[in-house]
Symmetry: D3
Subunit: 135 residues, 6 copies
Amino acid sequence: MHRGLYLGRFQPYHLGHHQVLKKIAKEVDEIIVGIGSAQKSHEIENPFTAGERVLMVSSAIEEFDIKHYVIPIEDIQRNSLWVSHVKSMVPPFEIAYTNNPLVIELLGEARIEVKQSPLFKRNNYSGTENKAQDA
Amino acid sequence: MHRGLYLGRFQPYHLGHHQVLKKIAKEVDEIIVGIGSAQKSHEIENPFTAGERVLMVSSAIEEFDIKHYVIPIEDIQRNSLWVSHVKSMVPPFEIAYTNNPLVIELLGEARIEVKQSPLFKRNNYSGTENKAQDA
Amino acid sequence: MHRGLYLGRFQPYHLGHHQVLKKIAKEVDEIIVGIGSAQKSHEIENPFTAGERVLMVSSAIEEFDIKHYVIPIEDIQRNSLWVSHVKSMVPPFEIAYTNNPLVIELLGEARIEVKQSPLFKRNNYSGTENKAQDA
Amino acid sequence: MHRGLYLGRFQPYHLGHHQVLKKIAKEVDEIIVGIGSAQKSHEIENPFTAGERVLMVSSAIEEFDIKHYVIPIEDIQRNSLWVSHVKSMVPPFEIAYTNNPLVIELLGEARIEVKQSPLFKRNNYSGTENKAQDA
Amino acid sequence: MHRGLYLGRFQPYHLGHHQVLKKIAKEVDEIIVGIGSAQKSHEIENPFTAGERVLMVSSAIEEFDIKHYVIPIEDIQRNSLWVSHVKSMVPPFEIAYTNNPLVIELLGEARIEVKQSPLFKRNNYSGTENKAQDA
Amino acid sequence: MHRGLYLGRFQPYHLGHHQVLKKIAKEVDEIIVGIGSAQKSHEIENPFTAGERVLMVSSAIEEFDIKHYVIPIEDIQRNSLWVSHVKSMVPPFEIAYTNNPLVIELLGEARIEVKQSPLFKRNNYSGTENKAQDA
């Protein structure tokens, strides 16, 4: 069993996310989608509630016919606790997919395997502060 | 489309929960399972992390072959905000299933339909304080 | 009985606020003044404590000879919970007065009547982030 | 100008509170009523929201024909910060009225004058933990 | 270099703590004393502020002539984040000294070596809840 | 006994800090170093954890052969509570050393003696917001 974690805010879920998920679906047995900054909504950068984003992601991921978990993750406001926070909220995973430099660093310090790719680059996090929650 | 919300802490998920879910699965098109007190773990009353509980519930609910969402919900520590908090974290729902008196009251004030039944009574939350998060 | 809620940070209370209150006083039986970002003080944008602002507003509103409530409201940091938070802190109200676009949206989603007017436009909240707490 | 602060949770406001307020009204020029544990409601020990309690207290205090402020005060969860928190939320005051031993101690350490009386004894807060917020 | 972490609330620091520290001082090169529940004070179970406890512990530990760090650690309210929280607040350590069962479990899950001894048993934390912060 | 408090974030500890500490060491009997924004790390402006900063400062201060306390101080997010927060976390002190205008104001309101000097000017807090926690 190989479970992969894909992290994002999905404000909104778009084609870039979809292409990444398609690729991940071929590499793992089960996908966890972690919806970051779950407590944010009604902002220009964060228009949708976590519940709305769960609906968007869940609907899109059905296409890939893979067992999945779509999990809202509230911000913890402390980078040094963020990996433990994520691990407590989602099922165990063996690999994480992200191109966010801070998330890569935090996961790396926790000795969690991270995979990035040129494809993910289109899915980057422009305009956000350098916070793990903006993953 | 009729979506129902079933709330619990699932510490752990047990046969009583399973029977309730089986019954709900016959009444709605999609089920949302809200995992309350998501931030708690490693306590006698709350041994499992949210992630572990997501895994338990997701595994069990597959049997019913119904579209479902398993969503951790952290405590918000304010009863008067709890319904808004839950609504922000999960997809829209038309009916909620619970026998917790406080949750029934809070959902009722928010004019959300609540269904309880003798069956659910076996699934009650003995030994917990009178907090919405203990739903 | 018709009770109206007027929201602002009042950093400081100024003539624009006073003119709006004068107008509201003619339209309702009782006025609630909600002092937003109550926990903030000693900042350039937020110099006064909530207590100092309560004093300013209470002193000014006496002129209108109308039953009033001046209520500090701390930020809740979650837009989707903000209306429930405000409602829990103040007496029941039938109408809210504001020109803040986010507050108008949040109140509208909660089906609360909002009144804005050209006069209020002078009383806007320039230089603040797009947060409900900056109402 | 002599302003007095009277602290309580007022769950609910009762005759004991009313008699204390009557007595205070004779001793000061203005009364501040601080409604403690403002964020609590829908609990057996704390049934009413802060807004409901503001309404109760405001209605009752009109009888005494004295300038007054009725201010919800949320818990700060740290006894050593509680006096600073209260001072930031209410207008300046010269004297506080309470019989709560912890509040007396905290105000005393902050060199704030406290007045207690046998009359207040009827107005005590049985069944609550030893927290300043239960004042 | 071998650095050991000794955790407690030290409400107050007593002879039992002192004997444990004496023993630890012989086993490591440097001692970190982590003062738990740092934000608590003015309670029957937690009378002293973190600052007062820092003073007590610092004064006592001088006797052992060993490099030491006395660090207040605020509660994080989430057991699954507690080890990361402690690790972020104190210098790196190779071994922890405690007899608290929950702390032993949490440190064990994080693969941190824990040492307990009959001597420490005298130093246990009776009457406290089963929380990591009560270590 | 004359104890002085020196506040900073020490991200990282540098020569400017060291010169200030050297000067303070000549004026007081004991030094408290308060490490502000203790919960921050892994950010460009705040790269180091509190524990790493404790290690840096503790190592450097040994040179001055003066009794010292190096204490992480988490942000409290409310300027009006910040002085009480600091006082609860550190041993009693008679004088504080800082050039931060907000900290000077907050300490001054609390009638705590503050000392600044041209030397400290090199040690200023460029690029940070106007928050006490950025002291």
